[in-house]
């Protein structure tokens, strides 16, 4: 499953609490207590689900890297755990006018090699991120025209166009600061010897085996971190990762599939943590060609899907049915379009008949080979089958199937995969639905949609932005540009001695609050 970043999420607090409360009532939420006094010391052993693509934030690509990167790199902007609303990190930001962003950096921050994190260092990082040949985050900073040092601890960004997504963008890879001294000394090899300004510093990385970090004694936040170090033991097989926690070899396993929840609950001395995330399981359409160029066929698929049953059958109940690409707790959620596609196989059949497929039709679909993807595929196949839509599955690795669908081959009509969102909804819609976007397999888009996506970044005012996103959602939902299925909940297993762990809406654990009891 592709893992894609999310950063900024500005949810109404009561919505999140309601969602969490509902989950707790349903017996799906078991948050550990945070109230105890945090003890200092100890090394946390974590079963991590993937080898990082790189330890250089600018050159990496996988969304699963973040949990590890955040231990070594602090970001200019951070976010609130429950709402993902941007908040100051190593810097505070202001927009004196829509095309100017000023970053005021906190004084006294040092990288692990002793280099000072000042305006020059921030400018160096931002310039590198937006122009270095190896940078994967160039598109995130494409609205920046120039970067100027306007004080020892102040950087001013001149923008080509207003871009209210920038604070959220700087809470992600683009805002992770690396030591300029290290980059200048090692060039491309810094990903194997990373130096940041985060709470822990790098010790060792053996590919597919282990990553070790140890306390940064000069960390700018006094009294932090609690842990002396963290060992990430890379275990890609979920059940094996969980067994390592049950056996006491690791203290924590995260991002486990829902099917393992009973195993965690049966184990002695383990805490189960589940919490909502923005990870959206969905059907991608190639709507540039027949038969999915016909809006009625796409709508029929949406009517044929029973999302409530999908959550129960494919996610063991650990999820929220998805009506659009953002969950109901999101600030940009548009409840007016939420009921566009109630489960109605008869209506699906009718729409198919109107589209000229009264005997149903066969569609080709790509999927992945892992157990959870196969299970999802089976549920979808069954549901669409009842409306006369027969699916012909091709399965393979993520790299293989995703490339076949999104790149030049255009092999299938549909793809069952996921979208875990972006730091800002404008990126979610821009990258997924805009013309020529990579994740829009057909590379076509309604010009009005493209215009609205651009407009959604013009204002900082959330209510104004929400109005624009409502229009965007109306287009994407009513013309059925995809079929969102469910937002998957995070599932983690923690040993009893792990204290203070707090899940976040992003679904990618941070370890800053953890202590060992």
């Amino acid at each position: 499953m592709r893992v894609i970043d999310l950063g900024q999420r500005q949810l109404r607090r009561r919505d999140i609490l309601a969602l969490m409360g509902g989950a707790a009532a349903a017996g799906t939420l078991g948050l550990p207590a945070f109230a105890e006094e945090a003890k200092k010391g100890g090394v946390l052993k974590v079963a991590a689900p993937a080898n990082p693509s790189s330890l250089d934030p600018a050159t990496g690509g996988a969304g699963s890297d973040h949990s590890i990167l955040w231990t070594m790199y602090d970001t200019l902007v951070e976010w609130d755990y429950e709402t993902l609303k941007p908040k100051p990190g190593m810097a505070k930001w202001t927009f004196p006018d829509p095309k100017t962003m000023v970053l005021d950096i906190t004084g006294g921050i040092k990288f692990h090699d002793g280099t000072t994190l000042d305006a020059e260092a921030v400018k160096f990082n931002l310039e590198r991120n937006r122009s270095d040949q190896r940078s994967n985050v160039k598109p995130d900073l494409s609205s920046v025209e120039s970067i100027e040092v306007t004080g020892p601890l102040q950087v001013t960004l001149k923008l080509k166009n207003p871009d209210s997504a920038l604070p959220a963008i700087l809470s992600d890879r683009a805002g992770m600061m690396v030591s300029p001294t290290n980059i200048k000394a090692l060039g491309n090899d810094t990903d194997r010897k990373p130096i940041g300004a985060g709470p822990w510093k790098f010790v060792r990385w053996n590919d597919n085996e282990i990553i070790v970090v140890t306390r940064h004694e000069d960390y700018w936040r006094k009294g932090r971190p609690y842990l002396d170090g963290i060992e990430f033991n890379i275990i890609t097989e979920n059940a094996t990762a969980l067994r390592s926690v049950v056996a006491g070899q690791n203290d924590m396993a995260f991002q486990l599939p829902a099917r393992l929840k009973p195993v965690i609950e049966r184990a002695k001395n383990l805490t189960t943590v589940t919490s909502p995330t923005l990870y959206c399981i969905q059907l991608y359409f190639n709507y540039a060609r027949a038969p999915l160029d016909n809006v009625k066929v796409r709508q029929a698929i949406n009517f044929a899907l029973d999302r409530d049953v999908f959550v129960k059958a494919a996610l063991s109940g650990l999820g929220e049915p998805a009506r659009m690409t953002l969950p109901s707790s999101h600030w940009a959620y548009n409840k007016d379009v939420a009921n566009t596609y109630p489960h109605d196989p008869e209506r699906a059949k009718k729409l198919l008949a109107e589209a000229g497929y009264k005997d149903g039709l066969e569609l080709t679909i790509g999927g992945y080979t892992d157990q959870d993807s196969v299970r999802r595929g089976e549920v979808i196949q069954d549901q669409l089958g009842k409306a006369g839509i027969r699916l012909k599955f091709t399965r393979g690795t993520i790299a293989e199937i995703s490339a076949q669908f999104f790149a030049t081959e255009k092999k299938f009509d549909l793809l069952v995969s996921a979208w875990t969102g972006r730091p800002d909804p404008s990126m979610t819609y821009g990258l997924g639905f805009d013309k020529d976007a990579y994740y829009n397999a057909g590379r076509t888009a309604d010009p009005e949609l493209s215009r609205l996506i651009k407009e959604s970044r013009a204002s900082e005012d959330l209510s104004k932005r929400a109005e624009i996103f409502a229009k965007i959602q109306k287009i994407t939902v009513e013309t059925a540009l995809s079929a969102p299925l469910a937002f998957q909940f995070e599932l983690d297993a923690l040993s009893a001695k792990v204290k203070g762990f707090k899940p976040n809406l992003l679904g990618k654990p941070k370890f800053e609050n953890i202590s060992l009891g």
Binding site: R2, V3, I4, D5, N51, P52, S53, S54, G60, G61, A62, G63, Q133, R134, N136, V137, K138, P139, D140, N188, D189, D191, R192, W205, N206, D207, N208, E209, N233, I234, I235, T236, E237, A239, T240, A241, R243, S244, V246, A247, G248, Q249, N250, G396, T397, I398, A399, E400, I401, S402, A403, Q404, F406, A407, E409, K411, L431, D436, A437, Y438
Partner: protein
């Protein structure tokens, strides 16, 4: 057989192995390029755009003709440089040096387990063919072949790690730094891997031994009054040793391949995991490097087998 003749054979076989190694890496390279999927997409990450993917192809030389890509890899490899992982930038040789000892330890332990348990079982069955012992051994052998080693691995973990807490459930340690810890990590995977081997050794040994023990020659030895134990050890086992060697050699090769699954169950950072991850991401320098190393090992196992053949039965090499 004279020593110089044996050395000549070794030299000749090593020279013959070189084209095998090169050909196998070429075939794997070709297959990897034929299979859909693109490392450039993985490298471009979540912000992938067509333009960025094209740019990455350019940076890493992935847009060059296949033969040029392969040729440049081979040229470096023959000079001792196995390149770096496209994904993580780690030197492939470093990765192999780190992962190979874990895999070798499990395979060697599994092979020893297969021999230590399989040989007595095979002898017991062969000396009393048709008896209950024979039936019992053959039943165990069938079970050993039928039970998938990953499933057995999970059962072993459930009992010895999770229930009794005797042995670790996952991971590995360095044999040089922590021999006891390394062994404690390797025991369960080795037993899981050995189950099929035990069965194979017992069955092969039984059938060869039964054949020899019922031969005219052995009946004559019985008639001459030679004690049965002497017949078994001096005539029976000596004669089946070549067959046994073949079984062991095949087993070693097969176990090397089977480690892929066992390593996943026990989260062992060995060669299996290395090649699976690399193949999934189309990280061809890593795949090539692992194939290179594995083919070399198989060639060495086969070479060693040939030399041992000539020691056990000089007629084979002459």
């Amino acid at each position: 057989m004279r020593k110089s003749a044996r050395l000549r054979i070794v030299g000749r076989r090593l020279l013959q192995a070189l084209p095998v190694v090169i050909l196998s890496t070429f075939i794997v390279f070709g297959l990897l390029k034929l299979v859909p999927g693109d490392v450039a997409v993985t490298l471009a990450g979540d912000n992938a755009s067509e333009q960025r993917i094209a740019e990455i192809r350019e940076i890493y030389g992935l847009n060059q003709p296949l033969l040029v890509q392969y040729g440049s890899w081979l040229f470096k490899a023959l000079h001792g440089d196995l390149s770096k992982s496209l994904i993580s930038n780690e030197a492939v040789l470093t990765a192999i040096q780190r992962c190979l000892p874990h895999t070798i330890l499990i395979v060697v332990l599994a092979l020893l387990t297969a021999l230590v348990i399989g040989i007595p079982l095979g002898i017991a069955a062969a000396t009393k063919p048709g008896s209950w012992i024979d039936g019992f051994v053959m039943a165990i052998a069938s079970l050993g072949v039928a039970v998938p080693n990953f499933w057995l691995g999970m059962l072993l973990v459930a009992f010895f790690s999770l229930q009794l807490n005797w042995l670790p459930a996952t991971g590995a340690a360095s044999l040089m730094k922590d021999p006891w810890v390394a062994l404690s990590h390797a025991i369960l995977p080795a037993v899981a891997l050995a189950s099929g081997g035990i069965a194979e050794v017992a069955r092969q040994l039984r059938s060869s031994l039964v054949e020899i023990l019922s031969s005219q020659q052995v009946r004559t030895l019985h008639a001459k009054g030679l004690p049965p134990s002497s017949i078994l050890w001096r005539h029976g086992l000596k004669n089946v040793s070549v067959n046994l060697l073949t079984v062991v050699s095949l087993l070693a090769n097969r176990m090397l391949a089977a480690t892929v699954v066992v390593e996943a169950v026990f989260a062992i950072p060995g060669m299996g995991g290395l090649i699976v991850n690399a193949a999934m991401n189309r990280d061809f320098p890593v795949v090539q490097g692992v194939v290179f190393a594995m083919v070399l090992i198989v060639v060495c196992i086969n070479l060693l087998t040939d030399i041992l053949y000539s020691v056990l039965d000089p007629r084979i090499s002459s």
